[in-house]
């Protein structure tokens, strides 16, 4: 195994220092380390962060390998500075059995670019009818800890209560896609002035908030952990703030796109801006940024959702919702100014806390002697123009095409092996 000497990196924004990476761990940290036999990586001016961890990735395999595979999605993740991603269950077949989650887990291992941690479905076929075999997925080789019907809400309150209770036996967590389906039938974008003007059926904020409110109360009642996926409204933030003050065990994520973009983007009907939950108003964006800074929302998760060209190059109403996110997440978070350049906060929201929620003990640990060498090197001074054609994803549906964003991932290490060097995927 090659050793790497990373010279002059600022660990989580601290003073420049050297890091020696050997045998999968950070062997030494300190000034002017000797290079003996190690390959030198010049990290002058770069910030070293614990490898980023994404709680919300759609890798599309099995089923839609034309849009993404575990391997191409893993490569996109590595290029975005990630060392672990949690793969959502809405594949075809659905990841609702031990067999499917183990398949995804093994495909991730075989690709070897990030750790792919499968998320299991809460209900059979994501249909919202009966619980999937959560325990079997938990005790499988994939050791599933997060369960989600993402893309669908676990709308039945009784079923949600049971799911929250049931997973306590193996320290699981339910990640809820909060969307009251009766309030969003046919919904195309945020309900408000823009939707009225564009004649697109509205997705009201209350459809999210009603479920968030219900679920925090259910979590309190049964004493369970709840994770809220892609929080998108100011009202949800208020409910989460209240729930945390009450001591309810709730965590929550926000996507990069909800920190930067608004519903105004729908004006030309380009479905690259169609996403679920939809882009909201500037007031919602401001509330989400504040919530992330305060920790009311404690995780940034990408909701990376690759879609084939034909599923986006069509009428808005017929397009699939979702956007790419892995390769741009860190830059968008920096660009949103939600956390400024508080590297400790960025490490907390994008690595440590998601690793804790997912139970990934090898991840989310700051580079220090003895820690697993899962880390990423970021050039905070760089600016880059987003070119969809350059994406390592199999899909091209980035909403940031042509935007200039700050920050660039220069290198990523997974267990001491580089997956990205000089801003390029190693393989």
């Amino acid at each position: 195994m090659t050793a790497y000497l990373i010279r002059g990196a600022r660990i989580v924004g601290g003073e420049p220092t050297d890091l020696l990476v050997r045998d999968g761990v950070v062997a030494e940290v300190g000034p002017d380390l000797a290079a003996t036999g190690a390959q030198v990586v010049d990290a002058g001016g770069l910030v070293a962060l614990p490898g980023l961890v994404d709680l919300h990735t759609h890798l599309r395999e099995p089923g839609r390998e034309d849009a993404e595979t575990v391997e191409t999605g893993s490569r996109a993740a590595a290029l975005g500075g990630y060392t672990a991603v949690c793969a959502m269950a809405n594949t075809d077949p659905v990841a609702d059995t031990a067999g499917v989650v183990e398949q995804v887990y093994r495909l991730g291992r075989a690709a070897g670019l990030v750790d792919v941690q499968p998320i299991g479905a809460v209900t059979v076929g994501l249909a919202g009818g009966q619980l999937a075999e959560l325990g079997a997925m938990a005790s499988s080789a994939a050791a599933v800890r997060i369960f989600s019907d993402d893309g669908h809400c676990v709308a039945d309150p009784r079923l949600m209560r049971r799911a929250l209770e049931y997973v306590k036996a193996f320290d699981g967590v339910i990640a809820q896609h909060a969307e009251e389906p009766r309030l969003t039938q046919g919904a195309q974008m945020h309900e408000g002035e823009m939707a009225t003007r564009l004649g697109l059926t509205g997705w009201p904020a209350v459809a999210e908030e009603a479920i968030v409110a219900r679920d925090v109360l259910l979590a309190e009642h049964v004493g369970s952990r709840l994770h809220v996926c892609h929080v998108s409204t100011a009202g949800s933030v208020e409910i989460l703030r209240w729930a945390r003050q009450r001591g309810i065990r709730v965590t929550a994520e926000v996507t990069p796109h909800h920190l930067l973009l608004t519903d105004e983007k729908a004006v030309g009907y380009d479905p690259v801006f169609k996403v679920n939950p939809p882009l909201r108003t500037a007031a919602d964006v401001a509330a989400l940024r504040t919530a992330l800074a305060e920790g009311v929302i404690d995780v940034v998760a990408t909701d990376h959702a690759p879609h084939a060209v034909e599923d986006k190059e069509c009428e808005w109403a017929y397009a699939r919702p979702g956007m790419l996110g892995l390769e741009t997440a860190l830059s968008v978070v920096l660009g949103s100014q939600a956390l400024g350049t508080d590297w400790n906060a960025i490490a907390e929201r994008m690595s440590r806390q998601p690793a804790r929620i997912a139970g990934l003990v090898e991840h989310g640990r700051d580079p220090a002697p003895g820690a697993p060498a899962n880390l990423t090197l970021v050039d905070p001074a760089a600016r880059r123009v987003i070119d969809p054609g350059e994406s390592a994803s199999r899909s091209r549906n980035t909403p940031y095409a042509g935007l200039t964003l700050p920050g660039r991932v220069v290198a990523t290490f997974l267990r001491g092996e580089p997956t990205v060097l000089d801003g390029k995927a190693v393989r």
Binding site: Q188, E191, G192, E193, A195, T196, R197, L198, G199, L200, T201, G202, G268, Y269, E310, E313, C314, E315, W316, A317, Y318
Partner: protein
């Protein structure tokens, strides 16, 4: 003049007035024995209709033919579209055939905007989903202007399913551009919540038709889809007719000069009583005739300059 007509909001007061004035000139043609002008000879207009709409399609067809354009009718039924061809591929096909203008009717809001990305010719929105129907607004404005002599300062009541109505959206944009005041009337379930909460300048919202009528110069009754009842927008057709239908008694609350409009097709007995539809105040048949003139003006102004 602009390259496409996708939204009534694309038109400023000057270009909208130019269309109405041009329509007035072209309208004189309808009285002549030979109703044809050579203006668009050699130009191709495609009617691309993804929804059944006989009246709008034949109105555009008549308009294009009176300007001597070649007209191709492309209906989504029984075509490549029913075999799953995408809008983009259809657009590229029409482009390859040299369509100078594409008149599109589509069930998805914004489809004409997408189409405009893929064809070089002018795109005319002939109704897209629950978004807009700009030539309907133009013909309505034309009708009001010719009956009432002006648009600026008029009080227009738009009554019914505003939430789902492309006619209402286009009329609100065009009428306010031309200085009229619009009152949207309907059950609260059929008025967008953001509009009711904070109406834009020139717009008012009312849930009480009887209160609005005495001050209205024109009242525009929107078609109500019966299937809205199943979605609980209102309890029954009878209750709707009682509260928001225009019957003879209500019509008599209007000022003497006021007109009654409907974009058609009507649900007689639902939003409008036969007595009202057939009364001298009704402009419904006139609207149809004016539709041809207005669409001639739109095609003429979009294509005429490029010959």
């Amino acid at each position: 003049m602009i390259g496409h007509l996708l939204s009534a909001g694309d038109l400023d007061a000057r270009s909208a007035t130019l269309i109405l004035d041009t329509a007035a000139e072209l309208g004189n043609l309808a009285g002549r024995e030979v109703k044809k002008l050579p203006t668009l000879r050699g130009r191709t207009v495609v009617n691309l209709f993804y929804e059944d709409s006989t009246r709008t399609r034949i109105s555009f067809e008549a308009a294009a033919k009176r300007l001597s354009a070649d007209v191709i009718n492309f209906s989504a039924k029984g075509s490549s579209v029913s075999k799953g061809e995408s809008l983009k591929d259809t657009a590229l096909t029409l482009q390859a055939m040299g369509a100078d203008a594409v008149v599109v009717r589509h069930p998805a809001s914004g489809a004409p905007h997408r189409l405009a990305h893929w064809v070089e010719g002018s795109v005319v929105n002939a109704g897209d989903g629950t978004h807009e129907h700009p030539t309907q607004a133009l013909l309505d404005a034309y009708t009001m202007r010719s009956r009432l002599g002006r648009l600026a300062g008029l009080q227009v009541a738009v009554v019914g399913d505003v939430l789902h109505s492309r006619v209402a959206r286009s009329n609100v944009l065009l009428l306010t551009t031309l200085g009229a005041k619009v009152t949207l009337v309907g059950p609260p379930t059929l008025i967008p919540v953001d509009v009711a909460a904070a109406p834009a300048p020139g717009i008012a919202v009312s849930y009480d038709l009887d209160a609005v009528l005495p001050a209205s110069d024109a009242v525009m009754m929107l078609r109500v889809q019966r299937e809205r009842m199943g979605d609980s927008y209102f309890p029954s057709a009878r209750e709707y007719a009682r509260r928001y239908g225009l019957d003879g008694a209500r019509m008599r609350r209007l000022p003497e000069h006021a007109i009654v409009m409907h974009p058609g097709p009507m649900n007689r007995g639902m939003e409008i009583a036969p007595e009202v539809a057939d009364s001298p105040r009704s402009t419904i048949v006139e609207q149809v005739a004016n539709g041809v003139s207005v669409r001639m003006a739109v095609l003429y102004l979009l294509l005429g300059g490029k010959a």
